[in-house]
């Protein structure tokens, strides 16, 4: 009897071990980066926008770039700042130096190869090919100032730019400028742009349904430690599912169908916070929402009047109405977190008395009737309603003109609007903010602001080599633009994201272009 019991117990133990080994979807990470952590095989991310084009250089959508970050790699790597002060660090390039104002020598990693099944090494020819191709595509604007790339040897290139620019190197961290395989194009491979050097490769993309990536088993960086930017991936599969309807996305997270819900609606956060299986994470974002003037149209060409309007806007009420307070108010025109961000100027606090005084000083008499143009949908509708009520208190009657986004951009570009609401998201390049929004004649300068002094300071911030002087000029520029008041910055929206409480290895960016390469669901 005793022998039988021992036999049965041994058999049970063996059976238990066998079942544990066959556990559904559980895997032990088989690389240094996973560190032997048990994790779910698949990580599913519910996105709030459709994936529409995976040809890196023929698109600029954030929804596409979040995916391409996993499969492709750039010469320069941009981290979210949490790893230390340095935000732009070597990627596929090991180092670079300016030999003079217009020539940069860049050395490349020698251990990188493409995920084409043949381990084709990445060389300087691929880099030159990628940059030359970029100049013929829509992504050309990201390489402003680029003249040419010359191959010096197998792992060294020389880049020539038209003039010195402090942020040219940063440009090379842009996901659409990830290095592609020249050989794949030369060999006539179908969809050669899908071949990258990243820790993941494309398995399947069904437009409108999902995009699935598989971990590259023979990834070139498999031996890199987990702390390295280009460390191998952990999850065996990452799947991105577009789920446009926000409430449905939240419910999918709660039902366990997805592991991450990007941009959950503020109204649903309470349900998520009560859910023990879910973590709701919030951090300062980078997306700036602003109210602005078409300064070419009367009476908005009057600086004092613009300042009066700025004082009449109750920004706190705007933020509460738009996002239930989940954001940071600000005065400056620069996105929070960017180099040189300065928000200490006096600005325009909500003060109706000061607003009325400034209106008197402006010399504009008589009732003012105007229009406020904005894109349909949240949060613009909420913001517009609050501002309409605010301006009524200083005698400005505002008619609200909602428009579809494409129509809004066209109308603003043509200068048809009076007042408008818009947003600008940038987390790496200050020149992208200053030049695109405020430089005379710039395509996104919907304020139609034309100021030689501002233009000069924008150029100086881009080209000054003395970093102290550059910082001072940047601060002076922000103060000047706030004083000129072509726009009234309202708030920076917080990044809010909800995910499976067992999610690890995630890397959030304030602008929403998160890094999922090392993310996994721990068991």
């Amino acid at each position: 009897m005793k022998k039988l019991l021992v036999f049965l117990m041994a058999a049970l133990m063996i059976a238990a071990m066998a079942v544990a080994g066959c556990g559904g979807g559980e895997k032990k990470a088989d690389n240094a980066a996973g560190g032997g952590v048990a994790h779910k095989e698949k990580l599913v991310i519910g996105t709030d926008a459709d994936i529409n084009n995976l040809n890196l250089q023929k698109q600029q959508d954030a929804a596409n770039n979040v995916i391409l970050k996993n499969t492709h790699q750039t010469l320069v790597f941009f981290n979210n700042g949490s790893q230390g002060k340095e935000r732009f660090v070597p990627g596929l390039a090991t180092d670079w130096k300016f030999v003079d104002d217009t020539h940069i020598i860049m050395n490349l990693r020698k251990d990188v190869y493409f995920n084409d099944g043949k381990k084709t090494p990445m060389t300087a020819d691929d880099v030159k090919f990628t940059l030359d191709m970029a100049m013929k595509n829509v992504i050309k604007s990201a390489l402003a100032g680029f003249v040419k790339c010359t191959v010096k040897d197998k792992h060294q290139i020389e880049i020539e730019i038209s003039s010195y620019n402090n942020e040219f190197i940063q440009s090379l961290s842009s996901v659409p400028l990830s290095i592609q395989s020249k050989k794949a194009y030369d060999d006539g491979v179908k969809e050669p742009w899908l071949i990258g050097t990243g820790p993941y490769k494309f398995d399947k993309w069904v437009q409108g349904e999902y995009c699935r990536l598989n971990k590259v088993k023979d990834y070139w960086g498999n031996s890199l430690p987990a702390t390295e930017n280009f460390a191998p991936g952990v999850s065996d599969v990452i799947e991105f599912r577009p789920m446009i309807e926000a409430s449905a996305r939240v419910m999918a997270l709660q039902a366990g169908e997805i592991d991450v819900c990007v941009n959950p609606p503020i109204s649903d956060l309470k349900f998520l916070q009560d859910d023990k299986k879910v973590t709701v994470y919030e951090q300062p974002g980078t997306r700036l929402f602003y109210f602005a003037f078409n300064v070419e149209k009367k009476p908005w060409d009057n600086q004092k009047l613009r300042q009066a309007v700025a004082c009449a806007i109750d920004k706190k009420s705007v933020l509460d109405a738009a996002l239930n307070g989940k954001g940071t108010l600000q005065k400056t025109i620069l996105n929070r977190g960017l180099w040189g961000f300065y928000d200490e100027m006096p600005g325009y606090d909500f003060n109706l008395e000061r607003a009325k005084q400034l209106m008197k000083e402006s010399g504009v008499t008589g009732p003012i009737k105007t229009t406020l143009t904005y894109a349909t949908g949240a949060p613009y509708e909420q913001i517009a309603t609050v501002i309409q009520a605010n301006l009524a208190k200083i005698g400005i009657t505002v008619d609200l003109v909602p428009m579809e986004q494409a129509a809004l951009k066209a109308a603003c570009k043509d200068g048809k609007q009076n007042l408008f609401l818009w947003r600008w998201n940038e987390d790496s390049k200050v020149d992208f903010v200053y030049r695109d929004l405020f430089y005379t004649g710039s395509g996104s300068n919907y304020h139609h602001f034309a100021d030689a002094k501002a233009d000069k300071m924008i150029d100086d911030v881009a080209t000054l080599k003395d970093q102290k002087q550059r910082m001072e000029t940047g601060i002076e520029l922000q103060k000047y633009l706030v004083d000129q008041c072509p726009q009234v910055p309202l708030y920076i929206a917080n990044l809010v994201i909800a995910y499976n409480k067992d999610l690890k290895g995630e890397y959030f960016y304030g602008g929403g272009n998160h890094d999922w390469r090392h993310a996994y669901i721990a068991k």
Binding site: P242, M251, E257, M403
Partner: protein
């Protein structure tokens, strides 16, 4: 009959011409520059002009339309401005999903509504009739995106019987089909009831009863068969609308259908995709209407005779 079918198919040509012109013209009047949308924020004017030139958008409207129709003659509906993929191939990638959804919704609606419509007609002016009409009122009044979210909360989130969305097998189809089908069922119930009431008052129904037919035979063989024409018309019309107009249900359930494809193409000013999709949808609607007309012939020999004469 065959001649009738061929004539109807040939009538698609003017449909295509008129539809394509109207859509192209409408898109050209819409504010919003496709080149700007493609170039993205921060693009230089030079880049935007380059894109406009590459896509032929700097040409006069009539020349753009002519070039588009020239391509259509050889089966080329162009490439999407956004995805760079062939419009025809993209449409046919989404079409099966829409047909599954539309077809399932119509089947659910038909299975529910016809018996319910007959039942309420037979029990006219009783509480059973009232209950049926309340259901019909509820179905036609309720926004289907709200119904969709409610179904997700109950059946997907709490009962875990079906997925919350996506296209992952037959289970994913149930909730969206019920959402779309519910509104259809309500409408078809009303039409069935109304049609049956008309038929039940006819003399031949009294004759059938007088001849000794069972009530079941009277209702289904003599009544329903004659009441079917307006019901089939309603089902056919709704099928056409469901195929092209389920964008709300498709968005709530992340169902990759044509409604969503067209809506997103419009917001992105993807002219080739919008034009191509709407032309193909028009052709599809014409084919569905033709099928409905042929089904009439199956149920009503008088109509079949008319087709044979006209054909």
């Amino acid at each position: 009959m065959l001649k009738y079918v061929v004539n109807r198919l040939l009538s698609l040509i003017p449909v295509i011409l008129v539809t394509s012109f109207m859509i192209y013209w409408a898109m050209s009047l819409t504010e919003g520059d496709p080149a700007m949308m493609i170039a993205g924020d921060g693009a230089s004017q030079e880049m935007i002009e380059q894109i406009r030139h590459d896509l032929g958008l700097d040409q006069p409207f009539l020349l753009q339309y002519f070039n588009y129709m020239k391509g259509m003659l050889v089966g080329d509906m162009g490439k999407s401005y956004v995805t760079n993929k062939d419009v025809f191939a993209t449409f046919f990638q989404y079409l099966p999903n829409t047909l599954y959804l539309g077809g399932s919704a119509v089947i659910i609606a038909t299975i529910v509504s016809i018996p319910l419509g007959i039942y309420t007609a037979i029990h006219q002016n009783t509480w059973k009739d009232t209950a049926g009409m309340v259901f019909a009122l509820f179905g036609t009044s309720m926004p289907n995106f709200w119904l969709g979210l409610m179904l997700i909360i109950i059946f997907a989130l709490h009962l875990r019987l079906f997925p919350t969305g996506g296209n992952f097998g037959w289970k994913s189809l149930v909730l969206p089909a019920v959402t779309v089908g519910f509104g259809l069922a309500a409408l078809i119930t009303r039409i069935t009831r109304s049609s049956m009431l008309d038929v039940m008052r006819q003399d031949y129904m009294t004759t059938a009863r007088a001849k000794g037919c069972s009530e079941k035979r009277v209702i289904y063989k003599h009544g329903l068969k004659n009441a079917l024409i307006p019901i089939i018309t309603a089902i056919g019309l709704q099928m056409s609308l469901v195929i092209t107009g389920s964008v709300l249900a498709e968005t709530v359930f992340s169902w990759p259908g044509i409604g969503r494809l067209v809506y997103e193409s419009i917001t992105r000013r993807d002219i080739p995709m919008v034009t191509g999709s709407i032309i193909l949808c028009s052709i599809l609607m014409c084919i569905i209407n033709l099928i409905v007309d042929l089904v009439y012939a199956f149920f009503d020999p008088r109509i079949k005779a008319q087709y044979s004469k006209k054909g």
